[in-house]
């Protein structure tokens, strides 16, 4: 019997592992979506997602505590929507107290007239609107600014998107309690000091955020720095400090 070279064996093993991992994801109900466009801009962030693809047709949750953080969250979200929408998308924006300034979306390459805003005061109505909107496959994405969301409601929404393959974004600004939700991910975005091409220029540079992906189903949570530059995401690579180094710095 002829022995195979060691490298070839390991290659085969890796293939088997990859195949098995894909099988596990499939069994766990994760549907593969081809959205290579979205991943191209996200850089190292995309390896956090299952199959290294940003999960569409799911609910994502963004939590912010301060107006500054909300603005940063909206910036990151606008970046995502820019890639999602393409030239012919439509987004529904549901909010009880809307502060979003539509013309500002233009600076993230979005067309503000492709957004439909629904201002509902009552939480009950807002949930109904969100549920109905998520069932409509003509929409690219649905954004709901609802600070408080119970597990039952979030589960309803998640079930709705699984059928329609619409991507839902839940913005929770100063929630009473974080709680558990059925959303597949939870993000915290906070602003970082902006940088220019080189730091010598005066004034404000490209918007830059610290993205903390606290929870992601079937993926690997993590934290990254990212900035919005020339109409696309640009990951910021920084020297990674190990625990010992930080301790040394501190003490």
């Amino acid at each position: 019997m002829q022995r195979q070279p060691a490298t070839k064996v390991s290659q085969q093993k890796a293939d088997i592992f990859a195949g098995l991992q894909a099988d596990i994801l499939r069994l766990q109900g994760f549907k593969t979506v081809q959205n290579t466009v979205l991943d191209s801009g996200l850089g190292p962030l995309k390896y956090a997602f299952p199959n290294a693809t940003f999960p569409l047709g799911a609910m994502h949750e963004f939590v912010s505590a301060k107006p500054e953080e909300t603005a940063a969250t909206l910036g990151f979200l606008s970046g995502l929507l820019n890639i999602l929408m393409g030239s012919n998308g439509a987004v529904l924006w549901i909010s009880p107290s809307r502060m979003l300034f539509p013309p500002a979306l233009k600076s993230f390459g979005l067309n503000p007239d492709r957004f439909i805003f629904i201002d509902v005061q009552k939480e009950k109505d807002a949930l109904w609107v969100l549920d109905e909107a998520l069932k409509c496959s003509a929409l690219t994405a649905v954004v709901g600014e609802l600070p408080n969301m119970s597990f039952t409601h979030s589960r309803r929404l998640q079930l709705a998107v699984e059928e329609s393959q619409v991507t839902g974004f839940l913005l929770r600004n100063q929630p009473r309690a974080i709680g558990t939700t059925a959303c597949i991910s939870r993000w915290y975005i906070s602003p970082l000091p902006s940088t220019n091409e080189d730091d010598n220029l005066p004034g404000i540079g490209f918007p830059k955020w610290h993205v903390h992906l606290q929870r992601i189903r079937n993926g690997k949570p993590g934290a990254w720095d990212i900035q919005w530059k020339d109409g696309r995401f640009a990951p910021v690579y920084q020297p990674v400090f190990t625990i010992q180094q930080t301790q040394q710095q501190a003490g």
């Binding site: 502060m99 300034f101 500002a104 979306l105 503000p112 000091p193 902006s194 404000i204």
Partner: protein
């Protein structure tokens, strides 16, 4: 198609109404009175009173002298008209075209309706019986012309005049049956012309000379030689469907089934004519004479049954059937051209042109109101609050481009006052205090001066700065007014991403 009309005469309209409300009056001679020139005049008398010789226009004192047991009530002004209108609305269940015929009658255009009740006689019998059970004395007649029906109802014996027999029916009627002026009638009687047949064959020219144009017109109308306009109390929509029910319907599933059937009929018709409805009204006529209705509106013309049904479904629960609903009507007052080829082109594409999105927006508009839904287009203003305007439809295209100036994603509805420390005039501030928190500014851009549009609003200009603190929080702040004029204020207006 030859037309058919029914004239209904309520002989004791107002006294019947009083009797309905005070049943004890039924057994007494009863009149209504009103004061005129300081005297009490009788305006209406019931059947018992009329039998004993009391007529309209008599002085009340004379009538009292004739019948000591006479019951008297005050007449209500305009009661007859109100009653007629209410009865006319109730009669819509028999035909869509119902007109009032003051002072005491109704005229129904029943063309094409009687066969639904199994013929002319059962149809008219049904109208008479049902009005009678409501407590009214009714005389009615059906004929080819309004004039003949009117005359036969009041002066004739038969109730249905067969098709094209209306001239024969007129022959034996008195001249009053032609709806003439009182002096003309008097003159006719004076001349010994007591029946229509005595003068109908006379030469037209001599008739016109003696009795005037009005007489000729009425005669021609009764004979069907001249058209007569009806003024229906409700003009039927060109696109409408009716569903009369054998038994009154009082349950929610029953109403839903009725709606479904009407929608199917209406939408099939719209589809054949390549039309779509923009507005629809679902009316329910109840047994007790009241009408319940729900309205819907759509964003795009539509004949999609399922979608329209879902729109109505949100509101069906507001219909109160009470004792039951006898008649359902679905009307489409606003209808527009609708070409399915266009729809197919956008099917499944997604985006604003997709029909599914329009249908979704329709559902929101009908449930939470159209005022909650906004879409914005760019407007040619630099002033931030005016830089966009409301779009009127989903498909409206922008007339100008969105400006790509740095603008904050979060904008405060009303700018908030801040306390600012600025070292050098016209320079970005060094720090500001907002909601009790001090923000030290590290980086800044600006100023971007935005002037007031004097033709819209008077006031000071704004000098906007984009500022960033050490933690990376980015703000949009502005100074209202010139620095050197000493009357300026600082505001925060938004948060940048």
């Amino acid at each position: 198609m030859a037309r058919r009309y029914v004239s209904i005469w309520f002989r004791y309209l107002t006294t019947d109404w009083f009797t309905l409300h005070q049943p004890q009056l039924k057994t007494f001679p009863f009149v209504l009175r009103t004061s005129e020139h300081g005297r009490m005049i009788i305006t209406a008398a019931n059947a018992l009173a009329e039998q004993q010789g009391i007529t309209r226009g008599m002085v009340l004192a004379d009538a009292r002298a004739m019948i000591p047991s006479l019951q008297v009530s005050d007449d209500k002004p305009d009661l007859a008209n109100k009653l007629l209108n209410r009865l006319a609305e109730w009669c819509i269940r028999f035909t869509p075209v119902v007109a009032t015929d003051p002072p005491d009658g109704l005229i129904l255009d029943v063309t094409g309706c009687p066969h639904l009740w199994g013929g002319d006689i059962p149809y008219l019998q049904s109208i008479i019986t049902r009005l009678h059970t409501r407590g009214y004395h009714v005389h009615a007649a059906m004929a080819d012309t309004i004039g003949t029906a009117w005359g036969t109802a009041r002066f004739g014996n038969s109730i249905v005049i067969e098709r094209s027999k209306h001239i024969d029916a007129l022959m034996h009627l008195p001249p009053q049956a032609l709806r003439l002026e009182p002096e003309v009638i008097e003159r006719l009687h004076k001349l010994g012309l007591h029946q229509v047949r005595q003068f109908i064959r006379m030469p037209r020219t001599s008739l016109r000379r003696r009795f005037g144009n009005h007489f000729m017109m009425r005669l021609a109308q009764a004979l069907g030689q001249q058209d007569e306009q009806l003024h229906p109390i409700e003009i039927p929509e060109p696109y409408h469907e009716r569903l009369p029910c054998l038994e009154p319907i009082a349950t929610a599933p029953g109403i839903a089934i009725a709606l479904q059937q009407l929608l199917e009929k209406l939408c099939t018709r719209l589809q054949q004519e390549q039309k779509g409805l923009r507005k629809a009204i679902f009316k329910c006529y109840r047994v007790d004479g009241k009408t319940e209705q729900v309205n819907i509106g759509t964003h795009l013309p539509s004949y999609h049954i399922e979608h329209l049904f879902r729109l109505f479904e949100l509101k069906l629960s507001t219909i109160e059937p009470a004792l039951g609903i006898e008649l359902f009507i679905l009307e489409a007052p606003v209808v527009e051209d609708h070409f399915p080829q266009q729809e197919a082109m956008w099917q499944g594409v997604g985006g604003l042109e997709d029909v599914r999105l329009a249908e979704l927006i329709d559902r929101f508009a009908n449930k939470i109101g159209i005022q909650a839904i906004h879409r914005y287009l760019p407007d040619e203003h630099y002033w931030p609050e005016r830089s966009f305007k409301e779009a009127t439809s989903l498909q409206e295209k922008p007339t100008t481009v969105w400006l790509d100036n740095p603008r904050p994603l979060q904008l405060l509805r009303i700018p908030e006052r801040i306390d600012v420390t600025a070292l050098i005039p016209d320079y970005p501030p060094m720090l500001f205090r907002y909601k009790g928190k001090i923000v030290n500014i590290v980086k800044a851009d600006g100023p971007e001066r935005i002037e007031q549009e004097w033709w819209l609003q008077q006031g000071q200009h704004r000098d906007y700065y984009r500022v960033e603190d050490a933690a990376g929080n980015r703000y949009w702040i502005f100074r209202l007014g010139h620095y050197d004029e000493k009357v300026y204020q600082w505001f925060i207006h938004g948060f940048f991403a």
